[in-house]
């Protein structure tokens, strides 16, 4: 009996570390197509070539055109010149809503020559004027008068727009995969 117990205890002691090690290793052995170790980044300043507003929207997935504002250097080597055209995708539009909710656009997928999209931190969001700050207090102040508080539903938030004078910055991580 004692012999059986010894064998059982030895087996448990022998196998547990192996099982634990295997499950721990399985989480680290998966190959990835990304590696975020490097913190070295280069800002790329862009401006849109034509004014864009959610007042006259395009369909989501449509293209917007930007140009590079300043020359871009990586370790003192120039990799992009000012004026280079960059296409980007209009990802999402959130239309402006009742009670002062602003419109919002999300732009991503910047196609920069010689740079992989996986090396860019590139989601850019632009919002319209947020009128909720004053519309909600007004709504609550008017609520005691029947139906009047609901009138603030008619106040819409501002349109999201990007003008040619706006400079937007995305970041290029040259050491990323």
């Amino acid at each position: 009996m004692n012999r059986f117990l010894k064998i059982l205890v030895s087996a448990v002691i022998f196998f547990i570390p192996a099982v634990v090690a295997e499950s721990a290793n399985s989480l680290n052995s998966e190959p990835f197509d990304y590696n975020f170790s490097s913190t070295y980044s280069v800002p790329i300043n862009l401006s849109i070539t034509e004014d864009f507003s959610t007042k006259e929207p395009i369909n989501e997935g449509g293209h917007l055109q930007f140009k590079i504002v300043d020359d871009v250097f990586v370790h003192n080597n120039k990799i992009l010149s000012a004026g280079t055209i960059v296409n980007a995708k209009l990802e999402t539009i959130v239309t402006s809503g009742m009670n002062g909710f602003p419109a919002e656009i999300v732009i991503s997928n910047f196609e920069i020559p010689e740079i992989k999209s996986s090396q860019l931190m590139q989601t850019y969001t632009q919002k319209g004027t947020n009128r909720c700050f004053w519309v909600y207090p007004l709504k609550w102040a008017l609520t005691p008068i029947p139906f009047v508080g609901s009138l603030t539903n008619l106040i819409k938030g501002g349109h999201a727009k990007i003008t040619t004078s706006d400079v937007i910055t995305i970041f290029y991580y040259p050491d990323w995969n």
Binding site: F32, Y34, P57, E91, T92, V94, T95, F101, M121, C132
Partner: protein
């Protein structure tokens, strides 16, 4: 020897309880691992540089008087009720992407994202659609099929009579907007549709005929107007 026998009998009597406990624990660990794995995959592939955690909860969702932890703690709690309807990795990804898009919103804007979080809560109809759309993008970037979001919502979200006085959209409207979004942005998933033999997807097609007709009209006339879906 007698003591050993008594202990052995006690242990044997407790075995079923221990087995159930172990089974529950292992099952929860398996689900948690799957959720962590798919959730982190979505975060990394989309380069979302905000901290978000995923927690599986075996309990039912509390609806009243509970804060939304997605917006306050940036913690996505996957409740059993919802998880049980996610039958493939793509559907788990759909469920998590939808939640991630809401959490990401809570990071943007002034006061550490507090104002945006309030807006998400107050104007949830608008942000519901926006979160659905961002979820589609997250899924595509992480190599999951975005049509799974349609399948998952079609299976899990009930259809109310009207959304006129509700803070939530009719599910049929949400599905139509997701379908439209995929049609414009990721037509390749519809052209080479791997879900044509999926009965849940076919059920969506069956129940969305009128809305899809409206979308066809929009495409035909190259319109940018927002469609008034049913």
């Amino acid at each position: 020897m007698r003591l050993f026998l008594i202990l052995a009998i006690i242990a044997i009597l407790n075995l079923p309880v221990m087995a159930i406990d172990n089974y529950t624990l292992e099952n929860e660990n398996r689900i948690q691992t799957l959720i962590d794995n798919i959730g982190t995959n979505i975060l990394n592939k989309n380069k979302i540089d905000k901290r978000i955690i995923f927690t599986y909860d075996d309990k039912h969702k509390k609806k009243l008087l509970s804060t939304d932890k997605r917006l306050s703690k940036r913690q996505i709690i996957v409740y059993k009720d919802l998880y049980k309807s996610a039958q493939t990795d793509d559907e788990v990804a759909a469920m998590l992407s939808r939640e991630i898009s809401t959490v990401v919103k809570s990071y943007s804007g002034i006061w550490g994202g507090r104002l945006d979080s309030i807006q998400v809560t107050l104007g949830s109809k608008k942000f519901e659609i926006a979160a659905d759309k961002r979820a589609v993008d997250y899924m595509v970037n992480a190599n999951y099929n975005p049509l799974s979001l349609i399948i998952f919502i079609n299976k899990t979200c009930p259809q109310k009579r009207s959304d006129r006085f509700s803070r939530h959209n009719l599910t049929s409207k949400r599905l139509a907007r997701i379908y439209e979004y995929i049609t414009y942005k990721y037509p390749e998933y519809l052209a080479d549709n791997e879900f044509l033999n999926n009965k849940y997807y076919q059920n969506f097609l069956l129940t969305s005929i009128e809305n899809r007709k409206k979308l066809k009209e929009k495409i035909k006339y190259n319109s940018t107007e927002e469609i008034d879906y049913e």
